[in-house]
Amino acid sequence: MIGRLFTGTGGFLIDMAERAGFTILLLARSTRWFGNALGRPREIASLGYTYGVRSLPVVIVVAAFTGMIVSLQTGLALAQYGQQEIMGSIVAIAMCREMGPFITGLILTATAGSSIAAEIGTMNVSEEIDALEVMSIPPEKFLVAPRIFTLTLLCPTLTLLTMLLGICGAAVVAHAQLGVAYSIFFDNAIDALRTIDWYFGFPKDLYTGLFKSVVFGISIATVACANGLTARGGALGVGQAARNAVIVSFLLVLIFGYILTWILYR
């Protein structure tokens, strides 16, 4: 009984290590095709449109509501001390450093990540990946590199949107619920971002948020492709690949988010 538990756990760990290894190797093997992906802007644009448009409604709603919720929570707490005027700074820093990339990462995981895994998984179980290999067209070149490249661009773009919408949503709540004037809110927001380092005319918090989102984009796409490429056994396997991709990417967004915050702000 206990023995079986151990072999079971061992098998699980080995399986996980294998998957992680495959995913990292896939990213490494795909990097040499990034130049090739760069040379096919139309395909990148089309992929970006597909995954971006699919995510856009969710991003808009979630970003606005997150901003509103953060605003309301901090606003109510600050109002007890009559400090609601500094809401703008708290919201701006929260959205740029953490919430923006984090929320966008999770949404892209659920939308783009799951659909990439399902798409490539379907190709895998219907022999399309085999067909590419037989035609000596590496899937890394044909499928993986363009998708990593696309999400590397898409994730920061949507993150920027999330930051903006979140801050605007927060401003509306601050104004409507707590009577903070828009001008005061935004002055505070900009001031807060300004107090940290500036690079090239933009605050550090913005850069770190965007840098995080680039890392998230790469990991979401790579994990999704890896799971699609290892899908086995028909429609069931495709579903499982999509689910695995979402779970692993969720975890990576959390873990990388923490590690990057630690590195960038310690």
Binding site: M123, S126, E127, E128, D130, A131, L132, E133, V134, M135, S136, I137, P138
Partner: protein
């Protein structure tokens, strides 16, 4: 020439091929018969290095490819056209783009030259007017024919067909058989065809082989095979004697 020697392969814990020997001569049309699940597709995949054997040796034109991986297989793979059971088309590319894909990836031909070649291939598989359609918009039989056109795009000296007529109505099956038959007459190709369609098998084969229990248990010209006393072969061919067996 394709030569498989003593190939043994286990997949998912089951022995699929057990010491299989098979030689296909240059410019020969070889038809492989056998029950579903016998390992026919697995056998074809060995020839293009998608599956590697546990034991044995695979040579193509005297090149040993048994242990090659990835890019090392490039030159051999480019000399082989593979028609997949399902067509295996890329579904965001049109029919014409699917057929053009190997040429775009592996040759420096101009767009015009590629377009001309694609049209020729479309004509060959009787899909002259369907180049602009997407795989989702065409029937299963048409997908298979597109798969054939794509496999022939680089004029490979070897073509492998995995059940090119399965699931098609008799008329479409005949159309595909005609394409394969024509190829045999007009081009210098070595082809290995997996099929359940005995009528077509006996019509186009130079030689027929039976895959059973992981080996080729019977092999010969259509006449020789018809005269076989092997009970498995006799039973397998019984339906044909009765005059009907499509699919």
């Amino acid at each position: 020439m394709i030569r498989l020697e003593g190939i043994s392969t286990a997949l998912g814990g089951r022995d699929i091929l057990r010491g299989l020997d098979l030689t296909i001569r240059r410019n020969e049309t070889y038809v492989l018969l056998g029950p579903s699940g016998a390992g026919k597709s697995v056998l074809l995949k060995h020839i293009v290095g998608l599956i590697r054997p546990d034991e044995g040796r695979i040579t193509i034109d005297d090149e040993d490819i048994t242990h090659r991986r990835g890019a090392e297989l490039g030159s051999v793979r480019r000399s082989i056209g593979y028609v997949f059971q399902s067509g295996a088309l890329i579904n965001w590319l049109t029919v014409a783009e699917n057929i053009a894909l190997p040429m775009r990836e592996h040759t420096d031909q101009s767009d015009d030259a590629i377009e001309t070649k694609v049209q020729k291939l479309l004509d060959l598989v009787h899909l002259s007017k369907d180049g602009e359609k997407f795989p989702d918009e065409i029937s299963g039989g048409m997908k298979k024919r597109v798969g054939i056109a794509r496999a022939l795009a680089l004029d490979p000296p070897i073509v492998l067909f995995d059940e090119p007529t399965a699931g098609l109505d008799p008329i479409r099956a005949r159309a595909i058989a005609r394409v394969v038959g024509n190829m045999r007459e007009s081009l210098e190709v070595t082809s290995l065809i997996v099929t359940h369609n005995l009528g077509i098998a006996f019509e186009i084969a130079d030689r027929i082989g039976f895959l059973e229990n992981g080996r080729i248990t019977e092999e010969g010209t259509p006449e020789e095979v018809s005269a076989s006393k092997n009970p498995f072969v006799v039973e397998f061919l019984a339906d044909r004697a009765a005059g009907k067996r499509t699919e």
